[in-house]
Point group: D2
Chain length 326, copies 4
């Protein structure tokens, strides 16, 4: 069933969406239309995912599929964008998200592809021990989620690690190309780093907590529930830029063209969408399209943008559209 | 010398930039700082370009380097985005702008790479004869430019055509892959189509007219001088999306990350920048950086964005920056 | 029907295959076994080829599918290997035969891929006019074929030219990379050069004449019928080296590993095979395997090599095989 | 100094090179000429190699640089070519020897590139424990070397393992693509397998023993010193085929074109060359050319082939060359 205050969460300022009740009714209608969609395939790359029901839509436990976005935001808040981007670029790669390649400066193309996400992880508090590093990230996630549910799914972790050949290949290729920070150069610690990466991939949220996390991004890094600043303003701006250009795998250009909103999707079928200064959405439905994005999730985004003026350039003057500003 | 009402042109609504005079003074200062930059190389791929003085900065005759953006906007206004994007994609390619490759559907990656620009050109009024097609485009350009100077540089045309081996290779490769509309399939007409493409590459403007063209995009497709609707609202939104994601060659991701504005640059060293609803800029300076963008032009954009809140996500609430909203 | 003295032709020295009659009987048996093979697809890239009957096996008109080998041999006899290989390399490309790529020195990988074959053609008597150039090649082919039938199939020429998009793309890409000899640099003459290339692709032979051509290579460049030296000794050695390493498209390594003989196949389904100092074979059967080689042709070669000691390294001492030395 | 019966070793049959003394004198002269060559760079990819003197030429300890050839021959003798080639192809890759790529059937291109060599190693007696597997290979090498010196350089092993990022990346990439035999699928054993691979890379020989190993290949798999059959006839033929087409890295095509002999070179600067039925050579000189082959070694081969009729197709009748048949 749907509880829309779970699926999306407008910023706490009551004036952001003044006509709240018809807006929610619109969303509820789109939700029902998308529930009828039967297309897409549940991801099978690890057994934990393959067991997901294709019927799931909207309310469920899921791994934090926007974790790459949040890990980036956390590291950039901690170290600053300059340090982070001395290790990872900002360009869409034009390749598959897990392809074994680097950019012309021998860096991962951006923080959203696998190689970039591994490097970002290796930058998180890498002078602490592993337990403290994991604890640090968990606390940050909980702050961003306004203390909504954040857990850990050990079965996903074990499953990720057991299916990790490509990530190991990527990691050794990056080690050869000196992509890692100097703290992470001994081969023993490479295994530890990848374990840490798989653990962060296995942090669990539900749609409610993920939508709060998205709303924190929409709110300039300040959690709309607790009013706590969790992400600094510049990293918050930067992570939206990266989600906009690289957040939807190989469909990122198409998504930013037609939907025009920062989003990050993941193989579990969860995706977060940010309407800056307005709201954060979490959409969850396991069946994926060919490019790895949630079929129902992308469909709802398209419906949303055809009705409301949320597209990045919907603000243009002289628009003749009859889109609603909710 | 600089005449700033030539370099940039705020929208005709007097309230858009209320403190006009200090804003212009700021821009003038940035202009002078960038004039001191000596880096970058003048493009040499055709002799007409190689002869450009590296000292040129700001006011000069130049080819319409944003022509790919405008050709796209013209075709999309004429045929609609659906027809256009059945021939050309919307994804950054992650490759060089002139690389001989297509996307997984055997289409050019987007309208801003060479292959996509050739196909877009072939869609322009392709049932008319060549003279009428050229005339149509010229009239459209003049409308967008508010009747400021738009000319034709025949030497550039001849030079382009004489250095066209790669474009011929691209065109035949696309012909093999059935990328062209059915109207353009006979090999005799391929030469005509490329001539048309080179002619559109040789349309000439000056900084004044180009800045008006940029301002028309900033103004939702309505020319701020004549108040005439030149580009339909949806194509105008779409061309800004494409300029944002693919307009600056292989530095597009980096530019949208750090500057966060739709822009289109060209090898002549001219670039247009659009601040939606605010203003259009034309920057012109032949020395290029390694990725093919005007060195002084990109520098000025970075200065601009560090002082004014023009970045795509500068609007975020809770920003602590002391950027100016002019 | 089969007339084996058409399919293969031992060198004129009566002692080369002393037990001629059982050898022919063995071959006849292999021929019949291969005639039963129904696998493979007739090539369809030009209509003239698509109309070939899949039943054809052994005796028929076909284009000179080894033409790349003979064109190379003719040019190398005329200009010397050093001149020729300043334009074209000797390495297998590891890519498809018509892929748009060059080696690290911006030269075609070898004379057997499309790009290399086009350059080799452009080196043939390129100071003469087109008619004389064509005539020169035809005379050379007739010498190599001992005055057996060599003709010209104009329908194939027209068909090749009408399906030539990829070859045009390749040619312009090579023109951009300055692969052509200085005599061939004006864009008008590029069309002429490709016409010449398509004409040489349309020279026609029958199995009898092609087997004589193969036998001339087996005989060190001296036609076994006329005893005329048609190809100089070094070019003859070199063309066998190239056929051995690059003659069977992407199956060249596999073919030289398992069959160990220089061969050249073509999309019409004809292939020539050379047993040095012993004989030349022409095998013709239009159905092709996935890599573009004649299914029955390759099958017969494998049968041949499992019975006779013709493999490149079958000469090794201490071999315990019971292969026959015919 | 040079002791030519160390550098090369004709087969034990006295009649193979009847005029032995002038042949040795010729070789001695070539050796002195090549000693004067100062070009090429000592390999630096592991410290143990970087310390080699560029002056070394001909007589020295070196790792068995043809080990890929011998490992293949040993496995193929043990399991048969069909089993081996169900895991590894026979085509030149057209790429760098250590590039992260597989062929269209998701197998390594051939046993001579890094990926193929790793798979070949994993096929060696993979039901035994590691100690017994290593011992097996060492015994086989000693048989092939006629009990000349074969040792183990532990410093090279440790150095290889410490510089192994690319090989780890390759191994995990192949594990993902299911390239390994079923015996080697658990991630723990992948590390063991790579250790085994690095150990085989660290087997040591001197020029004398390596030249005997080459001579065993020249002699159809029978060691010319002990007369023991070490490699079965078919694998011996096959390994010569592979050395001929893929043994000299990216210069394999060029080498087989101009020299026409099976050879295998390695980064230590040692190379073995086989003149079938005549002799085996070991050439050792650390400075390498750009493609990774010993500069002096390749030079001597070219001198050799310009004087003696050893090229694969030098046997052609009607050759007018005045090459010597020693």
């Amino acid at each position: 069933g749907l509880s829309l205050d779970i699926v999306c969460r407008a910023l706490q300022n009551d004036l952001v969406i003044p006509r709240w009740s018809p807006f929610v009714e619109d969303l509820r209608k789109m939700y029902r239309e998308c529930a009828a969609i039967e297309e897409g395939q549940v991801a099978t790359y690890i057994p934990q995912l393959a067991r997901q029901s294709p019927k799931l839509w909207g309310v469920s436990l899921c791994t934090v599929d926007g974790q790459r976005a949040f890990n980036y935001a956390i590291v950039a808040s901690d170290l600053g964008a300059d340090v982070v981007h001395s290790y990872v670029g900002q360009e869409p790669s034009g390749r598959l998200f897990n392809e074994i390649c680097l950019d012309s400066k021998h860096k991962p193309h951006n923080p959203m592809v696998n190689s970039g996400a591994i490097i970002i992880t290796s930058l998180i508090k890498n002078k602490l021990n592993m337990a403290d590093r994991f604890d640090f990230v968990l606390q940050e996630y909980r702050k961003i989620a306004g203390n909504e549910y954040i857990g850990f799914d050990n079965a996903t972790f074990l499953s990720e690690r057991a299916s990790a050949d490509r990530n190991y290949a990527l990691a050794y290729y990056m080690k050869e190309n000196k992509c890692f920070p100097p703290e992470v150069i001994k081969s023993e610690s490479l295994t530890d780093e990848l374990d840490f990466y798989f653990q962060l991939c296995s942090i669990e949220a539900n749609c409610e907590s993920l939508s709060v996390m998205a709303a924190t991004l929409a709110n300039g890094g300040v959690c709309p529930i607790t009013n706590e600043t969790c992400i600094n303003p510049n990293p918050c701006r930067d992570v939206l830029s990266l989600m906009y250009s690289c957040g939807m795998y190989d469909a990122s250009g198409q998504f930013s063209f037609s939907v025009g909103l920062p989003a990050k999707s993941g193989v579990s079928g969860a995706m977060i969408v940010v309407v800056p200064n307005v709201l954060g959405l979490c959409l969850f439905s396991p069946p994926l399209d060919k490019l790895g994005n949630s079929f129902r999730g992308v469909s709802l985004c398209k419906k949303l943008i055809s009705r409301f003026n949320f597209h990045n350039y919907d603000c243009l003057v002289h628009s003749t559209s009859n889109k609603i500003d909710p």
